[in-house]
Amino acid sequence: MAFELNVADCERIQKDLNEFLDLSEAQATLLCDRGGSILFSEGEFQEDAIDLICALVAGSFAATKELALALGEDEFSAIFHQGKNNSIFISAIGEEVLLLSIFSENTNAGLVKMYAKTACRKMQGLFAEIGDRSHVEAEDVTASFVIKKENLFE
């Protein structure tokens, strides 16, 4: 599934993620698809690590799905990894999107889980809508995509 996000989508997502951060007191959060591509992030992430984080979030979620299948479950809708200083919580939004929350030991894990669930439910509709759109116009409808350079890497 490939999402195409326009400016209005990004504003809605940003609003929902900020609300989630405020309520849960998590430090940072991001959305990626199950293929491992980033959709949106809020809060502090190291710029050069964020793509790798998404690839690993999608990878660990998929690995956990295999574990669920082996145990007779369809999948685990959320997974939690506890660290010494920071912990993470990954929850599914529908079939295609994952929400990652990062929070410190000063934050209550139960609150994060609860508000993450609410946020996921809220954003599920939005992503269903975005996914159903057959065609997203670039902001400037006359814009076309022009290839700039062919040999990109030297």
């Binding site: 490939a2 790798l52 690839a55 990878g59 076309s144 890497f153």
Partner: protein, 201 residues
Amino acid sequence: MPQVNYAKKEIQFKIVYYGPGMCGKTTNLQVIHEKVPAKAKGKMASLATSQDRTLFFDFLPLKAEAIEGYVCKFQMYTVPGQVKYNSTRKLVLRSCDGVVFVADSQLSKMQENKESLLNLEENLQAQGDTLAKMPLVFQYNKKDLPQIAPNQYMDFLLNNGSVKVPIIEASAIKGDGVLDTLNAIAKLVIQDFVAKKNQGN
């Protein structure tokens, strides 16, 4: 189709290096990581066992200005080649926009190459894609070794569809052909995207 963000002016392509175990997929990403300047790449990771064989995947994010007004990101992955890791290969193939099939040119590896290509085709079909429509290049690797098959023979075995797939000869371990392969697949995924968008899909 790649992810597009019109607010950030960013397009993300996912490219997967596929092929039998030990054909040189991980080596390709390592060479790319060495050669590409720092501003064009992010953190690389190899999820490997202690014996250096890829258990999960290798990952390398790249960035380039390929389309006017947009930053293009290329999320590069390898799959584990060993037959038993098929569920990992399926996961890595999810939402992929282009494939580099790395074939081992040693004569003794032709059967493994064929099986891996067949496995790629099956896994693409299972996710609703087809090999024929997927941007694809073949890298005939390990050309530095003795007892290798001529390209013509490899084409006869592997590249025998109605449309010929572009091939690149390589010796990944020496760095030869690695960036040519990367440029070839990047060009194909971009052309595929631009053609679809400009037709209004």
